[in-house]
């Protein structure tokens, strides 16, 4: 059990133009499940590998429970890691894979066997203990990789996209399995993924990274309802939030297709970005944004309507339609949203304006 602190951590590879991770400060509480999420190349895996001791920190320090581990070897950090490709030792059986860390720690054989069997039971792996990894399916290998981490009862779990090699159905199952397991064991966990759905469903808190910089860290609900900047607004949620650029009027008021954003005034003439989530757009009779429908994606319970809006720069918008109100392709309709549900950002800085 441990808390983790990243204190102004920077990592720059020699010869790289910009740091892979820059000035990252982040505190993770004991027992918390924190998800690092971002597009590829955002520095999320690098951050995790720095925590595990597999990458050298250029500046700043990493603390586990107030102990500075920045310069410590991976073996001295008491961290277990689940790798994207599982990294199971192919020449060892499942039991040997899971017990390898305990064997290195020179635990007695009886204890190793007991702990391996315990973990195997938890993960439904008992019947596979004598098999080699190559005789296992993808899902079983994934569980062995989890088991190898669990057996050690480490201070921290590091998980680097552990579900990305599973098929879609198994991924959803394993997702809830891992989240449940983590809550039961109560081990502080840092989990890396590029999939924002995974991030939102699993994490106690989610840290969004882009270009090596921390954009926002908060609970999934807050990330969804109050994104701190345009990047987070566009990254969290599926389909992505509609972001429309516009300009404030001479009084500094902003409106979008007749919907006035009350109570949020900016500089007169300031460039702003207005965001509205597809699920908040509703068909309207009178005012609202006029849209020509380009494409309709039927999902059964609801449908996503992709269209071109009659606004400055004719931006593409997405709206969710429910039930009988699903429009035809090529038709025109008006979409409106409650002003409270619109997000406002400064276009230059990208920051949220409240």
């Amino acid at each position: 059990m441990a808390s983790i602190t990243f204190d102004r951590v920077t990592l720059q590879y020699p010869g790289a133009e910009r740091p892979s991770v820059s000035d990252l400060s982040l505190h993770i509480d004991d027992g918390e499940f924190l998800v690092l999420v971002g597009p590829s190349g955002c520095g999320k895996s690098t951050t995790l590998r720095m925590l595990a001791g597999l990458e050298q920190v250029s500046e700043g320090s990493i603390l586990i429970d107030d102990t500075d581990v920045t310069e410590k070897d991976p073996k001295d950090r008491d961290i277990a890691m689940v790798f994207q490709n599982y990294a199971l030792y192919p020449h060892m059986t499942v039991a040997e894979n899971m017990g390898f860390a305990l064997k290195l720690a020179k635990k007695p054989k009886a204890e190793i066997r007991e702990r391996v069997e315990e973990a195997a039971e938890l993960l439904d792996l008992t019947e596979f203990l004598d098999r080699k990894p190559k005789a296992l399916s993808g899902g079983q290998r994934q569980r062995v990789a989890m088991g190898r981490a669990i057996v050690r009862s480490p201070q921290v779990f590091c998980m680097d996209e552990p579900l990305s090699n599973l098929d879609a159905k198994l991924r959803v199952q394993t997702r809830s399995h891992i989240a449940g397991l983590q809550r039961r064991l109560g081990v502080t966990t840092v989990y890396v993924t590029h999939d924002q759905v995974e991030a939102m469903t699993m994490g106690d808190r989610v840290a969004v990274l882009d270009k090596g910089e921390l954009q926002q860290v908060d609970t999934p609900r807050v990330l969804y309802s109050r994104p701190a900047n345009v990047f987070v607004a566009g990254f969290v949620g599926s389909p992505a939030m509609n972001l429309v650029e516009t300009e404030a009027d001479a009084q500094g008021r902003v409106s979008l297709g007749g919907i006035a954003l009350e109570g949020r005034t900016v500089e007169p003439g300031q460039r702003v970005t207005v965001g509205v989530r597809p699920e908040h757009l509703r068909p309207a009779a009178e005012d609202g944004i006029e849209v020509e429908v380009d494409l309709v994606e039927e999902l059964g319970s609801d449908a996503y309507v992709y269209g071109t809006a009659d606004l400055e720069g004719s931006p593409l918008v997405v709206a969710r339609a429910v039930g009988d109100e699903i429009p035809e392709k090529g038709s025109r309709l008006r979409l409106s949203a409650e002003a409270d549900l619109l997000h406002l950002f400064d276009t230059d800085s990208g920051l949220r304006i409240d």
């Binding site: 001791g53 070897d73 991976p74 490709n85 990294a87 199971l88 192919p90």
Partner: protein, 289 residues
């Protein structure tokens, strides 16, 4: 194989068709390679008076030639030469593989200054013609008093074997999934432990392959050994070349063939032993993680 009952006959026919082609080409290659050895053995087992008989199958069978080959009265000592060869080849292989593994690990895994330069030097060393080294080595070893010692054979052989071992091992280690090493280090292993317990077992097939290649190359080395050894330490290649018969004016071909057969046996045994390890290692290493 996910062959259904319907498509099975078709598949089988296709496969036998391919089979004949590969058997034929394989047979040609085997014949091409093994024919000289076959003839060596035919002559070795044939009566000495029939040495130049060209009947293609074994006739006039006898073991006399082997007795002659092992006879030490004429100044020959084949068994001692076999022992010398075994000693020199084993020590050379051992040291070359040991050094090769460590150097390859560094070249495949670590980033350090001058890596490209070192790789180039190693390649250059393997390109150097051995014959150009005979004179300088002879001079050097004469000054050092090494002529006629085992180390005079072992040291140059190691430097010939090393580029080979380093190149094959570096290529293999380069392709190993290094996530495994990281996993081991997170599991509490030092770099050394991770190498010994995870990387080396996985590299075993490559290590054994290079060991075989190095052993064979050393076992067959003749040029340097012919100049740098003396009868008491000479390897089989030199011993057979110097083979003397009862009559100094007649080459004892049949006995030489018998000696050649005897000398090939340890090689074949060693390759068979290691080949089993190679196959075992390959199947155990089904890495695809």
């Amino acid at each position: 194989m996910t062959t259904t009952a319907d498509s099975a006959p078709v598949k089988r026919r296709v496969r036998t068709g391919e089979g004949w082609g590969s058997y034929f080409s394989g047979g040609v290659i085997v014949l091409w390679c093994l024919l000289p050895f076959y003839w060596m053995m035919v002559v070795a087992f044939r009566d000495v008076s029939q040495t130049f008989n060209t009947t293609p199958w074994p006739t006039h069978l006898t073991l006399d030639n082997f007795v002659a080959a092992l006879n030490t009265s004429g100044g020959n000592n084949l068994l001692r030469a076999v022992g010398n060869s075994l000693l020199v080849s084993a020590i050379t292989t051992g040291i070359a593989v040991l050094l090769g593994v460590t150097v390859s690990y560094a070249l495949a895994r670590l980033n350090f200054k001058g890596k490209g330069f070192i790789t180039g030097i190693i390649l250059a060393a393997s390109m150097f013609p051995g014959v150009a080294l005979v004179t300088p080595l002879f001079q050097l070893f004469t000054d050092a008093g090494w002529i006629g010692t085992y180390q005079a054979l072992i040291v140059p052989n190691i430097s010939f074997a090393l580029p080979l071992t380093i190149y094959t091992l570096t290529a293999f280690l380069h392709d190993l999934p290094w996530e495994l090493e990281e996993a081991a280090r997170v599991d509490g292993a030092t770099r050394g432990q991770a190498f010994m317990k995870v990387i080396l077992p996985l590299a075993a097939p490559a290590v054994f392959t290079t060991a075989i290649l190095a052993f064979i190359a050393t076992w067959n080395e003749y040029l340097l050994a012919s100049q740098l050894s003396r009868p008491n330490v000479e390897p089989v290649t030199v011993a057979i070349a110097r083979f003397a018969g009862d009559n100094p004016y007649i080459q004892p071909y049949a006995a030489i063939m018998a000696a050649g057969t005897i000398v090939t046996v340890p090689l074949v045994i060693m390759v068979l032993i290691f080949q089993r390890r190679i196959v075992a290692g390959l199947t155990a290493g089904g890495v695809k993680s």
